[in-house]
């Protein structure tokens, strides 16, 4: 079998049948990373030794016949998840030397399920960005075309899976950071319901929006990974105390009679006609599978980007205040006094985009502006939630484009923040509402991957995965792989 682009299910089988050992598999990916990643820059750090150690233990387990669901499966983790004893940077100079003394709950769950972590993937600094150009560790290149961005902020996680450098990866999504890079790299990416996966140990960008999720080749793989990331965690007060369904077993059901809402507001002016064609084509596939398309409206969608760019910066302005150079992280040389220590440590440690958002957020929370910005944005957020609640009285799933365009060239939008922010125009509303949403590859546009976004009702990741899986049973877009020679 071709290990490069094998799915989790293929690998589970191969490992159990001893067609390949965990050590061989891990070494295989490590070799590929060595060879291919210099051109992609998808990893910030590689834990080769730890990974090979884990692989040896996995082989012992496989030999004993007590393999756990993910035993021997090498994955990559976004460098926003703390792993005990390992460097965790969040893509920032500020945490360039930060060694986490604890492990993120969802990473721990994955490890408990047997997954092997190969390394930590590159990302926009503190998950702020849609192109992965905001990393202190350099931009990530799209495996489909290295001149293009891979999307962001989980760009490293997307590129690594797309290039076959690991079997799957973890990402985080605050306004689209799993879905948009999944779309740009031709992957399946899922942002679960807010609270489905614990945020403990995941470095915060905007606490009320951040959600971890899987980035995989198939919906089935996403279901498997999600099962081993989700679950209530008393260490995260916002984590939902809900049972985790057996997602991977439930996805096989057919979708006859599924009501798919086609949201008018997602087909706007900014949408690339080629992307729109791919999306319409995908909707036609769904109709052929027995689903019904229902024209719906989420009337407050046009305000989502504005509301998001108040709420997320407001929260991040407080979340990033702990990075002050006092206890850990970057500290400037020879501070003259406390003020100087704060100013230079933070001035040197944070990149431009992060500083911009801290300033925006600080402003939005200031006396005299709080009502006009923060409170108003929260009001919009409530209206957006209500839009979804109403819509899901009519339909089971909402479908539309994930991003307005396919991957664009590095540097193209770097100087135009508004255009960059509009990359998230279709993904942000699900983040604000806290409903689950995913992106799956559909018909390519001009040789580049295009993502279809599926949005589900609260806790209905199962319906999304089922709809995605059934689509993938009918189509081959998710099986396409980028040109090998980079």
């Amino acid at each position: 079998m071709n290990l490069n682009f094998a799915t989790l299910t293929d690998l589970q089988k191969a490992l159990r049948n001893r067609d390949v050992s965990a050590t061989e598999l891990t070494q295989h990916y490590l070799t590929r990373i060595d060879a291919l990643d210099p051109a992609l820059n998808s990893f910030i750090s590689i834990q080769a030794e730890a990974a090979l150690g884990a692989a040896r233990r996995a082989d012992e387990r496989l030999a004993r016949g007590d393999a756990r669901p993910l035993t021997g499966i090498p994955i990559a983790q976004k460098d926003i998840f703390c792993l005990q004893g390992q460097r965790t940077t969040a893509g920032s100079k500020m945490l360039g030397n930060f060694i986490a003394p604890y492990t993120a709950t969802c990473s721990e769950k994955l490890a408990d399920a047997g997954a092997i972590t190969l390394g930590k993937t590159n990302m926009d600094e503190f998950a702020m960005g849609s192109s992965n150009e905001n990393s202190y560790f350099g931009a990530v290149h799209n495996p489909w075309d290295p001149k293009l961005i891979p999307g962001g902020s989980s760009g490293g996680s997307a590129a690594a899976v797309a290039a076959g450098l690991c079997a799957a990866s973890t990402g985080t999504d605050t306004g689209g950071s799993i879905r948009q890079p999944a779309a740009m790299c031709g992957l399946t990416g899922l942002k679960p319901t807010y609270g489905r996966i614990s945020r403990w140990g995941m470095i915060a960008f905007a606490s009320s929006l951040d959600q971890a999720g899987p980035m995989t080749r198939t919906a089935q793989d996403a279901a498997i990974l999600l099962e081993h990331m989700a679950g209530h965690d008393p260490r995260d007060s916002t984590s939902l105390n809900e049972p985790v369904p057996n997602f991977s077993e439930d996805i096989g059901k057919n979708i006859k009679g599924l009501r798919i809402g086609v949201c008018r507001e997602f087909f706007t002016e900014g949408l690339d006609p080629a992307v729109e064609r791919s999306i319409r084509e995908a909707l036609a596939v769904y109709e052929s599978l027995g689903a019904t398309l229902v024209d719906i409206s989420l009337p407050h969608t046009p305000y989502s980007v504005s509301a998001y760019y108040v709420i997320a910066p407001a929260e991040c302005s407080a979340n990033l205040a702990r990075l002050d150079g006092i206890r850990y992280g970057h500290r400037c040389l020879d501070p003259e006094n406390l003020q100087d220590l704060y100013q230079r440590s933070r001035g040197e440690g944070f990149g431009e985009e992060v500083k911009k958002r801290i300033l925006v957020g600080t402003f939005a929370l200031s006396a005299g502006y709080f009502d006009a910005f923060y409170n108003r944005a929260q009001k919009i957020r409530r209206l957006i939630k209500e839009d979804f609640v109403k819509a899901f009285e009519q339909v089971d799933v909402i479908a539309g484009p994930t991003a307005p365009t396919p991957a664009f060239p590095l540097g193209e939008k770097a100087s135009n923040p508004v255009e960059m922010y509009l990359q998230d125009i279709f993904t942000i509303s699900a983040s604000l509402a806290g409903v689950p949403a995913m992106s799956i590859p559909v018909e390519f546009a001009n040789g580049l991957p295009v993502g279809l976004q599926l949005i589900g009702n609260y806790l209905q990741e199962g319906s999304l995965l089922q709809a995605a899986h059934q689509f993938q049973q009918e189509t081959h877009w998710h099986t396409l792989t980028p040109p090998e020679a980079l």
Partner: protein
Amino acid sequence: MSIPAGWQIDIGLEIHAQLNTRSKIFSGASTLFGQSPNSQACAIDLGMPGVLPSVNAEVFKKAVEFGLSIGAKINQESRFDRKNYFYPDLPKGYQITQMDHPIVLGGELNILTSDGTAKIIRVTRAHLEEDAGKSIHDFKPGLTGIDLNRAGTPLLEIVSEPDIKNAEEAVAYAKAIHQLLTYLEICDGNMAEGSLRFDANISVRRQDAEKLGTRSEIKNLNSFRFLEQAIHFETERQISVLEAGGTLVQDTRLFDPDRHETRSMRSKETATDYRYFPEPDLLPVMLTTEFIEEIQSSLPELPSKRAQRYQTAHELSTSDAALLSQDRRLGDYFDAVLTFSGNAKSAANWVRGDLLSKLKEHELSITACPISPKHLGEMIQLIDQGVISGKIAKEVFGALWSKQTESAGDYVRQNQLEQVSDASAIEPLVDALITENPKQAADLRAGKDKLLGFFVGKVMQATGGKANPQQVNDLIRQKLSEV
């Protein structure tokens, strides 16, 4: 200090009380005082990246107990907010507090003013928040050390209305809060360890002025004495500025007890904008009606109610009632002695007299008292039944205290300390005394009642204190009238 004629003072207090939970408000780290620096701070208290707070449910219970005790409304939806500012001993760069939804709303407390009249001080609100760590300046020359052991200790901030009119009232109110918190056993009340700290908002105005004057906030007063002094100095300062024709600026000040002055830290213009917003890491907590009712029903009898009961149901004096009800455990002890002895007056005398002085002498708290209330109560019963005299009781009390015996009854029996109430045993003694002291007997008969004590004393001496004094009394009178 008296207030200068023509002026009045308005004071509101913000009292920060550390709640005595074993672990911190948002982490599992210990709240023990006096440990080596930073040994009690976990990743959450240190504000590490990626960690999250989770609320220690104990704090809700304690805050609700306080709220119900002052007759306040309990906010059933408890929310937290972030108060943002940079300081090295504030690890996250924000303090988690309750801005918009304080858990306790309103309520009031009774204090006694200097002229002995009761006065009500209204409480505006009380809210939960986390304490900051400590900066230790110049712990090495030119260096500031940070100790985060205190960071995350739960605080209940109790805010009063500006109902306080002078320093004495402020101290009386602060002491009343201190007493209530310790009585409820939700705060250890240890001022030296910073368990209770005061911020005083002080303003002055002309006697006839309707509006409150410009206020200054004096921060971080950690004793009743400093509170009193700071108010004196600050009101003096404000009045002298105004009398000299000057104007005051609203500011935050520090009290310097060594230099007897308050110093401005920052004015309103340069005040920090705290940029409060709802804490997104903590969901609103809904306190159920059952939860609140359960606390209500398990609240201890409060000091004022208890004192009232002692006065009306048990006819204790005002001072006995007040003394025995100020400390919850002392009151509980007294109640138990009362139950076992059935004699309130005697129980009160023994508890506030012999027992408290022994405890004081040995620096023991009532909970460490070596005599159980049952045994003290039984001893009082022996007195009331005439088995032992008050004098013998002192000896029995000593034996109980030093644990020579557990039971007063046993001790009395073993040492044959029973009162001699058998008239036939005392009669010969009385007869002999009258014969031996004819002059005294004659004077007594003639109405010199003082001499009764002479004869009683002699009998008691002869019986080793075991005679029943009342009986001896009666017998002497009877014998003298016979002759």
